[in-house]
Amino acid sequence: MKPRTLFEKVWDAHVVRPETDEAPAVLYADLHLVHEVTSPQAFSMLREKGLRVRRPDRTLATMDHSIPTVRKNGRFEISDDEGRTQLDALAKNCADFGIELHALGTEGQGIVHVIGPEMGATHPGSTIVCGDSHTATHGAFGALAFGIGTSEVGHVLATQCLLQRKPKTLEVRVDGWLKPYVSAKDVILAVISKIGVGGGSGHVIEFTGSAIRALSMEARMTVCNMAIEAGARAGMIAPDGTTYDYLIGRPRAPKREAWEHALRGWLRLPSDEGAAYDKSVTIDGSALEPMITFGTNPGMSIPIRGEVPDPERVEGEQARAGLAKALRYMGLQGGKKLLGHPVDVVFIGSCTNSRIEDLRAAASVLRGRKVAAGVRTLVVPGSQQVKREAEEEGLHHVFIESGAEWREPGCSMCIAMNGDIVAPGQIAVSTSNRNFEGRQGKGSRTLLASPLTAAAAAVAGRVADPRELGS
């Protein structure tokens, strides 16, 4: 048999009907994750057509995007009618169609891409879809996981299948070993900077190499999470001992004989010796520095001590114009360092960086220190479970004593749909995934960075190198 990549093995195992020139493949989705923002129109479609949900047992819902992250007198107050209508719609849709929902205020609630893995619902070799582009997160387990639109949410609800053309494969190999204070976030920002925000279009990325193998599961999730920011359909990492150690014993992981059986299959998932990728890129992980973005897409990043590129020195009219426009929006000058630039807000959270290891990293910087005067700092755990874990470890005391706000789980200031916003013109160092114009609120300016770098900025009140503060 022809050697196959990890992606090809997972793809082949889920093709219900192969693709032809005339029609895409019918691809089976093992798990469908649902949230309040991209699902109501899909459920309406089911009702209009009189369809049922084919596999409610393979469907899992949570509330995350537009929910408040503060309780007032112990209760969540949803200030806007539209937001409440959307949450009520999800609750009703889940009740009517028999779907498990982790609603606001319940112990299993959290960001959709945080709760799946922590419940053990994300399995190696499976296919996972969700009406959310950061579904790629689950690829960290060797799953094929990708974001879909609302029409496709309807397709999966009705048939558990999707129509898909087979994507190409792109290997991103990160060799060497990461230096201290260089994290998964820095790796993925460096990758996107190298291949560009459209560099992965039409492809599924498989991350390989010693620096990737050495990452924890949570760090691997951070890497795969942002595959979409390079335009890729999905990001994947082959499962290994790290994956199985993370998964075993979690509520939704297979048990006993079922585990043994599943494991035998998972052990065959890694790409075969000699398997060919359509494209390959190599990065020297040992040379990476903490990264930070300066522009208005995630490909516009520099090492923390680097200089913002000067549009005058950029080749190509369109590229020059694009960079100049981004810098105008950001209020930054080309040719200057970002280090020392004042910041107004620090956000630690999102499906990229809100897991317990991220919070530990941020706390390692904030412990015994104070957030600089005038810097609003939010720490938003990814799930109720992450919040409980952090509180058991006393991390919330570290955050609160430093002057940061310790919040309830949700997408919060990453997408700014819930009132957690960065004011017009303000600049935020954020551990989230997108620095698009207005992403964190109209007129907001975002610098993407790791939890260590974000926490360092909170303490310094400026863009700072976490290596200088020490932990």
Binding site: V16, R17, E22, A23, P24, V26, Y28, V37, T38, P40, Q41, S44, K49, R54, S66, D80, E82, T85, Q86, A89, G131, D132, S133, G147, I148, G149, T150, S151, E152, H155, A158, T159, Q160, C161, L162, L163, R165, P167, V197, G198, S201, G202, I228, G231, R233, N297, G299, Q318, A319, A321, G322, K325, A416, M417, R434, F436, E437, G438, K442, G443
Partner: protein, 192 residues
């Protein structure tokens, strides 16, 4: 869905590369449970200043853009989130085709499902269109060609299945529903 065989109109040009879905429609307008009426928020933060007044010179509000149904944008159009609200907003604002040298994967799939033809053209044709705002163009799905007012023509690429659905006003779900027996057999084989 309406069948669509040909789109002919003046073109509105947004030459920026990597236009993301947050620009097409900001997240604060995603709280709707419907899909209609989003055209008013299309590119709203580019179109309007902090006080909600139109920014002078924005192409979409140019008198020559009136009735335009073809948007021509810089490469990698529609990158970012999976929100289908982006094609819904474009469709609601009257657009029936989006032309670029590359269109982000999820946006492209979403557009085709909503009567908005994602038209990927070769670089030379793309550049000719970027350089001719408000000129007349025709996108013909029958012949898979784009014809410009200048006389320049070129072919474009579009998935055959997406084209079939667009030209016949078909919903892709219909095709999937027909596959149910196959899906059931596949599930049974896997779960045995």
């Amino acid at each position: 869905m309406e069948a669509i065989r040909r789109v002919a109109s003046r073109i509105v040009v947004l030459p920026e590369r990597d236009i993301d879905t947050d620009q097409i429609i900001p997240a604060r307008y995603l709280k709707t449970t419907g899909s209609k009426g989003l055209g008013q928020w299309l590119f709203t933060d580019w179109r309007r200043d902090a006080n909600g007044r139109p920014r002078p010179g924005f192409p979409l509000d140019d008198p020559r853009a009136g009735g335009a149904s073809i948007l021509v944008a810089g490469s990698n159009f529609g990158c970012g989130s999976s929100r289908e609200h982006a094609p819904w907003a474009l469709f609601d604002a009257g657009f029936r085709a989006v032309v670029s040298s590359s269109i982000a994967d999820i946006f492209r799939a979403n557009a085709a499902k909503n009567g908005l033809v994602p038209v990927v053209v070769p670089v030379d044709l793309h550049e000719a269109m970027l350089a001719a705002p408000f000129s007349f163009a025709t996108v013909d799905l029958e012949s898979m060609t784009v014809a410009l007012e200048s006389g320049k023509t070129g072919s474009f690429s579009l998935d055959r299945f997406a084209r079939h659905c667009l030209m016949n006003g078909l919903d892709e779900l219909g095709f999937l529903i027909e596959q149910q027996p196959l899906i059931g057999a596949w599930e049974a084989a896997c779960e045995r």
